[in-house]
Amino acid sequence: MIVEAALTLVLLLPLAGFVALLGVGKRLPEPWPGIIATGVVAAAFALAAAAALDFFRGSGDAVTVTWFEWLPALGVQASFLWDPLSALMTLVVTGVGALIHAYSIGYMHRDERYGRFFAYMNLFVFSMLILVLGDNFAVLFVGWELVGLSSYLLISFWFERPTAAAAGKKAFVVNRVGDVGFLVALMLIFGAFGTFAFSGVFAEAPAGIGTGMATAITLMLLLGAAGKSAQLPLHVWLPDAMEGPTPVSALIHAATMVTAGVYMVARTGVLFELAPVSSGVVATVGALTALFAATIALAQFDIKRVLAYSTISQLGFMFMAVGAAAHVAGIFHLMTHAFFKALLFLGAGAVIHGLGGEQDLRRMGGLARVMPRTFATMAVAWLAISGIPPLAGFWSKDEILASLFGRGGLWVVLWAVGLATALITAFYMTRMMWLAFGGAPRWGEGIHPHESPPVMVVPLLVLAALSLVGGLVNTPWRPGLEHFLEPAFAAVSLTHLPGGVTPWVLAALSVAAGVIGIAAATSRYRRRVPDEDSGGWLLLAGGYRVDDAYAALFVSGGGAAAAWTAATLDQRGIDGAVNGVARITGMVAERLRPLQSGLVRWYGAVVLLGSVGLIAWFLTRGGL
């Protein structure tokens, strides 16, 4: 009972914050909107942590809270599920969310739409909680669309900039492509099971549907997940989404929303287990995306785009994990990634803030001396994402790689791709760190970099601490997270770490990959900014020209189709029909004009003749 009430409050607090700030956010003086927004999210985190206590003790049962009958005709209820998986997601969303809200109090200082920013942020947290807590596919879909809306609103938050407005639109449109897949999957699910409820679908799935149906459903789900989580070939929106304020990038486009696809695949693990082909496709898409995005990140000079491609790449790792049925490893990486990538983004935001809006790595350099705390915290995140033990990223990434290797067969190829990606990841992160913080200052005259105010530094420190020790919740000899999540994945046969010395060898290999990447990048970028304008670098910097290809294929193709429709179908067809009717009427009228002579006596004669004619008709024919 208490858990139910807490759960309802967890959901309603951010919503209340959103509604309140939408109403009065404009009139409240700075920093009150920020404090309110941070307060509600922090309170939601505290309540969620208290509600999850039983799970931590290992004794809690999953709880369902039903608010109301939503679609009685379809048997759909607005109900929410509190199990270890949703609890963990809720804690990550509200915990990291609260830190980023607090950071935003400083980052958005003196923004003209300060109140609205925090209203949108609270709306996002509410939407994300709907998504992760939904007890059926319909509620999940509502959350799915709501986070898409919040993402759109926040990407184009500075809508005066045409690039920001275009980026928001692009994110929305690309997500629609994935959402079509999700919608089709929902229809297939309802058609096959007659219900949207997780419990019903997952209980009936093993016996109720064949492999073909399961494959169709899961491939459509994957399309939706790829759109939301920026996987190939729908990754194009995420780099552009960096037009939004940096805390938005940290919260939505690194830590939480983009992981919704991973969460969804893990949540529907039962279905994916029935469709081995789909699982293989998920893992392959993840591996390709991881490698593809990592190579692009090598050549980016915009600090936020480096991190954006890095996020896509790390999401690829999570997809590899959930595709290989290593759901715990995937969710584990989701969690640690939320810590260190949010930290990297917030650190990048501090750098951008300190340099007065500069995002180009070529005009940074030497910032370690002027922003020591930002540098120190970002260094932790850098080592964590590079996979250096005992930081958080090492444990989760290594568990993914070891699980892939452990499955044997073709999965070893994916492991090799993952290992190569780990090396590249270490390389580009080191490159970014050297270009931003090492070497000689390259910023222009009149810019005075400065350390951020405490309200921005404290979240960095907390996230650094989490990145430092967050991985220890699930070590091979004390798999705490695995025990914690076990009830949620009871129906799935999970992939576990291989036994014996194999994990140790694999761990040594991945650490070696990280160290080699760091060393190589250090020797290249320690002293100077090398010229990176040859053909290969430009190809990478342009993201393999995927955007251009899409522009040529879909945008100009769609434009041509629209132009043809406008010129031919609309102007000739529809307008032609309307104008044609008018022209025929005109022609007929032209012929009939002489009848209207204006002579009253002529009209009288016509009336007379008409009457005579009618009477003659009646008399001879005896009726009509």
């Binding site: 009939l592 004009r593 002489p594 009848l595 209207q596 002579s597 204006g598 002579l599 009253v600 006596r601 009288g604 004669a605 007379l608």
Partner: protein, 101 residues
Amino acid sequence: MIVTPAWYMALAAVLFAIGVAGMLLRRNALIMFMSIELMLNAANLTFVAAGRELNLIDGQVSVLFVMVVAAAEVVVGLAIVVAVFRRRATASVDELAGLRG
């Protein structure tokens, strides 16, 4: 010589024909009004004659209606004629052909 209803009908037909001829041949608006009155009263005559022959009150009732409507029509019509005459100094309807298509 017995005056049968056919006589009344014949008289009405003659009156109506005179009205039609006047209506179509004369240009003066006032004469045209009179012709219209002639036609209306020709119709009235058939009504009362038929009512009497069939022993029904309906014919006389209809005639009362026609007379009321005719009076109203004349009021409006004469007002228009007077107004037109004031503007154009003519009562010839052939010159009032402004609505020619």
